[in-house]
């Protein structure tokens, strides 16, 4: 078995689906960064360096798929809350459709 190949492949798959996972988690919910990472970990088996999520969130924000706002806390250290935008919602629906189609095609191959 080519372990290196499998390792590289899983890394690519993870990288590719991460934005899809994040948008799904944000659907109907608002989370701050750390909480969002906890949700990703809770709902998927993806083990990633937690920091990688921040550049992804910046990109999603730039694309207009998510919005964010700083909320002051008693601790004096504010939280940045992320939520899905309207455009993000419609994009996510398209992504879901694609995912379901692809999944069923792959299932046939397995």
């Amino acid at each position: 078995m080519n372990n290196l190949f499998v390792h590289k492949w899983t890394a690519q798959v993870k990288k590719g689906v991460l934005s899809f996972i994040v948008l799904n988690i944000l659907q109907g919910n608002e989370y701050y960064g750390y909480e969002l990472i906890e949700e990703v970990k809770k709902n998927t088996e993806i083990e990633i360096a937690e920091g990688t999520l921040y550049p992804l969130l910046i990109r999603l924000k730039k694309e207009g798929l998510v919005t964010s706002k700083w909320v002051e806390q008693e601790s004096g250290i504010p939280r940045k809350y992320y939520s899905i935008s309207e455009d993000g919602e419609t994009t996510l629906q398209k992504m879901k459709k694609y995912w379901i189609n692809m999944n069923s095609s792959i299932q046939k191959l397995l």
Binding site: G33, Y34, E50
Partner: protein, 191 residues
């Protein structure tokens, strides 16, 4: 930005050191983006520490930082994107080169750009060869037909039709070429 308070100076040093690494990584970002990023990382560290029930702050901080990852690694995409944006707006060759190197891994398109820029440097190289070997560099015609452009080993019977006009012409073409590829890079970025 409000810093997280620690009781031990060792923990504080680890924390400050990490934030400094982040700051160093994102030095290229705008003041506003830098502040955002630092606040975000600071908030992450703070929230992470709050999850622990024991008081071993050094261990807890180290665990949070370890899970967060090395800033030099996880911040790479942010920097690479920013570099491209900067390069296409400033037209500074240093920025362009850095941007291409940072984005090289991101796809074949950037290797094409790297090649185009290399070609540009070849152009400029011709100016040097024209000064050192004037008779072997130029725009050469043989029997009124285009034969060669550049630095040629064997120019027997060929006619250099530009003479020393070759230099201003190459400079002008290099400028136009440079503007064109940088605009093309900007266009690719917008896609």
């Amino acid at each position: 930005m409000k810093n997280i308070e620690f009781t031990s100076t060792t923990t504080e040093r680890i924390y400050n050191d990490y934030l400094k690494r982040v700051e160093k990584c994102i030095a290229i970002l705008s003041k506003e983006d830098k502040k955002e990023m630092l606040m975000e990382i600071n908030s992450h560290i703070f929230e992470g520490i709050q999850r622990f029930s024991d008081n071993n702050e050094t261990d807890n901080l180290l665990t949070v930082l370890e899970k967060l990852g090395m800033p030099e690694e996880f911040l790479k995409p942010v920097i690479a994107n920013k570099k491209i944006a900067q390069a296409v707006s400033t037209f500074n060759p240093k920025d362009v080169l850095q941007a291409l190197l940072l984005n090289f891994k991101n796809g074949i398109i950037y290797s094409v750009f790297a090649l185009l820029y290399l070609l540009l440097f070849v152009f400029l190289f011709f100016i040097v060869t024209k000064l050192i070997f004037p008779s072997k560099t130029g725009l050469f015609y043989l029997d009124e037909k285009f034969k060669a452009f550049g630095f040629i080993k064997n120019t027997d019977g060929m006619n250099d039709i530009l003479g020393f006009w070759f230099i201003p012409l190459v400079i002008l073409s290099a400028i136009i070429f440079y503007l064109l590829i940088t605009l093309l890079l900007r266009f690719t970025k917008k896609q």
